[in-house]
């Protein structure tokens, strides 16, 4: 699956630039998948047949969760499940082939340690696995269901979307299946082709009531998986399969949780915000250093971690600072999750009730954009006072008053052409503006209104 990148610039008439980047192709901003020698030492030169390589960047050793030991991603999953089965007597793990240890070895040793009534195989039926899990969870057990590959989760789509996600809402909170966690291997592995490589998070992101979480490495994986298991909502936990063996970190042996719905800023920067999850984080880490080295561009890298409900605040705050956003994910670009992020980020900020970051258009000096003017009038109609409106939108009360008086008199909020200085740009005027944008693109409304 090609990585799809969405590139957004703030300003320049509120038009969004979107650039699709396919694997191997180069763009001027360069999100490429490089052919570097792989970090996995098991690969010899003659075996290099994968098109997509990346360098795994391990997290630093965590110090606040107790003693650690070296684990790869699948071992961190086993460790999380081990902690859960030890502390929660109702916990059960089930799915295809989990009894002998699982096709990715995530459940090795657990059946022997905890018993065959707690770690067991189910028949080959994903809709049954998830349905069974929902029922067990609703009846009070901690149900951890494994779908063998995310590519095969679709038979369970009805159970997930129509049942698990809506259990609590439709019953008026009489019943819920918050005790359910679904785990599935996810994402490109190089040789997986159509049906062992998919990243289906976008299908489920459209479904309120479930949570979707994707870790970038073993430390995150164990903490986030334990959070999902503890969380009182049905969670889908996608595990990047290419990282199962390749990602090795020092992981705490005791149980610990990493909060859901909190994106992590892995690296601060000033020129562009990069957002990704799972494997692409490591690709973007390389992009960050390449951009710095070759283009002198300072990137801020964010790991979204929780796809649903996602941390809009961290991402929007970052984009308000940098003015640009690039999102990279493995799934197809149309309707991919980058579309949700980019559309939310571009929503005029006064509808998000945030007054400290302003993503409005770059307008003429002191002229507010039409959206803000309409908003002022709406809030006035709703009965708010000038000062309150001004405070909410970050404008002076006198400006608000002027706009409202104009509306009352002329029934319009648009500014008609004035006599005097022409408002059409001459080619010379246009190039003046463009030069200003090129030199200092992070112009926001406030800088124009400073005298």
């Amino acid at each position: 699956m090609a990585a799809s990148a969405r590139l957004l610039f703030r300003g320049a008439g509120l038009k969004a630039y979107t650039a699709n980047v396919n694997s191997g192709a180069q763009s001027s901003f360069g999100t490429t998948l490089l052919r570097l020698s792989p970090n996995c030492s098991s690969q010899t030169k003659t075996q290099i047949k994968h098109a997509s390589h990346f360098t795994y960047h391990p997290d630093p050793v965590p110090t606040m969760y107790g003693p650690t030991t070296k684990m790869n991603l699948f071992q961190s999953v086993t460790s999380a499940l081990d902690n859960t089965l030890a502390s929660d007597p109702t916990a059960v793990i089930f799915g295809e082939d989990v009894a002998f240890g699982g096709v990715f070895r995530c459940t090795v040793g657990l059946r022997d340690k905890y018993g065959k009534d707690r770690v067991f195989n189910t028949p080959l039926c994903e809709q049954g696995i998830v349905g069974f899990g929902i029922g067990a969870a609703a009846a009070g057990a901690t149900a951890i269901a494994e779908i063998q590959f995310a590519d095969y989760i679709y038979p369970a789509f009805d159970q997930i979307v129509n049942e698990a996600a809506k259990y609590r809402y439709r019953s008026g909170n009489l019943f819920d299946c918050g005790n359910l966690t679904i785990r599935a291997p996810w994402g490109c592995v190089g040789h997986g082709s159509l049906y062992h490589s998919q990243s289906p998070e976008a299908f489920f992101a459209h479904c309120p009531g479930i949570k979707i979480v994707i870790p970038r490495g073993p430390v995150q994986c164990k903490g986030l998986l334990l959070s999902c298991i503890e969380d009182h909502n049905p969670c889908i936990f996608f595990e990047p399969k290419i990282l199962y063996r390749a990602a090795v970190e020092q992981v705490p042996t005791e149980a610990y949780t990493i909060p859901l719905s909190q994106a992590e800023v892995l690296q601060e920067g000033s020129d562009v915000t990069l957002v990704a999850w799972g494997t692409q984080i490591h690709v973007l880490r390389e992009v960050v250093s390449m951009a710095q080295e070759k283009l002198g561009v300072s990137c801020e890298l964010i790991d979204l971690q929780t796809i649903l409900p996602w941390d809009t605040e961290t991402v929007c705050k970052s984009v308000a600072k940098t003015g640009r956003l690039l999102i990279s994910h493995e799934a197809p670009v149309t309707g991919g999750f980058a579309a949700e992020i980019s559309s939310t980020v571009q929503t005029p900020v006064h509808t998000l009730n945030q007054t400290d970051s302003n993503l409005s258009t770059m307008a003429k000096t002191r002229e507010l954009c039409k959206d803000i003017r309409d908003k002022i009038v709406d809030q006035h109609k709703a009965g708010m006072g000038y000062r309150t409106i001004g405070q909410q939108l970050g404008e002076k009360a006198t400006t608000v008053g002027a706009i409202i008086r104009k509306w009352k008199k002329f029934k319009k909020t648009v500014n008609l052409p004035q006599s005097g200085a022409p408002c059409k740009f001459s080619p010379r005027g246009a190039s003046v503006i463009m030069r200003k944008v090129r030199d200092q693109p992070r112009t926001i409304h406030r800088t124009w209104s400073v005298t």
Binding site: T90, D117, C125, Q159, S171
Partner: protein, 424 residues
């Protein structure tokens, strides 16, 4: 399962294919395949599915309410049987009144249970009150038997502020945590694998709790049904599958739904004990469910009960069944083979129920239903905030924003959003 002595094959016990553990020995002229335990056969012969004389229908009473085999009479007390009758007729009365109320535009939708009251009451009575019930949508009698108040039935149909479900679902999607009845959902058969999971959890809890799962013969065609049957059998769950085979799935008759011998014949295919009963015979349903429940919990295995019955009413208020079946057919079942009249004959024969009882009970049940009905009509609708709660256990920031945005919108256009009918 027994272990075999190493290097010895005498005294091996032949187990059903899935449980074999004996070592392989090709000197024996028996199939050694792990997938099945069987003998060889040397001539080509297809097994004929038997749909002409299929699995027999177990009944206790004949159509006139007479006990056929006295040793099968459960010999329930007069109070119990009268209670059965009253619950069935109360359900019938509630159905009539709510069906009419939909016709008058008071509620949006309704589904009646005409003709199937016997399946509800007979099975509900055979269960423990703490047994978990997963239903489809035509099991209101189970809830009524367990004591769900008329007010709450009405509240759910009217989606008013008293509804336990907070007014979120269409009518007849009942649920009750106190009565261990999982809230109904519209997608068919989704409850079947869920019931298997719940039964597995109940087994692990070891509290003598069974699970029953109701569904129609149409829903049994769904993939989820196959999943549920297979999972419950392989994972050894204390579960009763109760199929109401009422002849129609909306307009689709059974000969377009399946070609085999109904649903009961599928059970053995999954390794499940199965029975077919006369669903219009309350005692047959009672006996079968009682025994199935006892054994399901004692032996940790699922049971399949196919209750043959007939859907006398339309599928729902959105359906007119005269479009696909004759009035004569419906009349036959209504007049000649109805669970309520059969039980009434049984009671009359024992002088447990008279004409006077009938008259006064009908009057009383109509009165209580109408009272609950009128009360429910007057109640407020649920508070608007309840549109946003329970999506997750706690409201997320965007839901909070959306709720605030809704209130701003309503405040701004309050002429278009009259709120008098809603709880404050």
């Amino acid at each position: 399962m027994t272990q075999t002595k190493p290097n010895s094959h005498e005294g091996c016990i032949v187990l059903p294919g899935a449980l074999r553990q004996q070592p392989f020995d090709s000197s024996e002229e028996k199939p050694q395949f792990p997938g099945a335990s069987a003998e060889f056969i040397d001539h080509l012969e297809f097994i004929q599915p038997n749909v002409i004389s299929g699995i027999p229908v177990y009944r206790v009473m004949d159509r006139a309410g007479q006990i056929i085999n006295p040793s099968e009479d459960p010999q329930l007390s007069k109070e119990t049987v009268v209670n059965f009758y009253q619950k069935m007729t109360l359900l019938n009365t509630m159905d009539r009144i709510l069906y009419e109320s939909q016709r008058q535009g008071r509620i949006s939708f309704y589904m009646t249970n005409y003709g199937e009251e016997g399946t509800h009451i007979g099975s509900a009575a055979a269960l423990d009150s703490k047994d978990l019930v997963f239903g489809q949508y035509r099991e209101a009698g189970v809830l009524m038997y367990r004591g769900f108040p008329l007010d709450l039935f009405m509240a759910q149909c009217y989606a008013n502020a008293d509804d336990l479900g907070k007014g979120r679902q269409m009518p007849v999607h009942y649920g009750s945590k106190d009565l261990n009845f999982i809230t109904i959902s519209s997608p068919l058969a989704t409850q079947i694998p869920q019931a298997a999971g719940a039964a597995y959890a109940a087994k692990r809890e070891n509290t003598n709790r069974a699970v029953i799962c109701y569904f129609g013969e149409g829903a049994a065609s769904e993939g989820d049904a196959h999943a549920g049957f297979n999972f419950s059998a392989t994972l050894e769950c204390p579960l009763i599958f109760f199929c109401r085979n009422n002849g129609y799935a909306i307009s689709t008759p059974t000969n377009e739904q399946y070609r085999g011998d109904g649903i009961a014949a599928r059970g053995p295919g999954y390794g499940m004990l199965s029975i077919r009963v006369d669903g219009n015979d309350v005692f047959a349903v009672y006996n079968a469910t009682k025994e199935a429940r006892r054994r399901a919990v004692a032996e940790n295995q699922p049971f399949l009960i196919e209750a043959m019955t007939y859907r006398i009413g339309h599928h729902s208020t959105s359906d007119d069944s005269s479009a696909y079946r004759s009035v004569d057919e419906v009349n036959y079942w209504d007049k000649q083979d109805h669970p309520i009249s059969r039980l009434r004959h049984y009671m009359t024969a024992r002088s447990w129920w008279s004409e006077d009882n009938e008259r006064s009970w009908r009057k009383q049940s109509r009165k209580t239903v109408m009272e609950a009905f009128e009360k429910a009509e007057k109640r407020h609708k649920p508070h608007l905030d309840l549109m946003f709660t329970d999506v997750y256990d706690e409201m997320t920031p965007n839901l909070i924003r959306q709720r605030e945005s809704m209130w701003r919108h309503i405040q701004q256009y309050k002429d278009h959003y009259p709120l008098d009918a809603y709880a404050k």
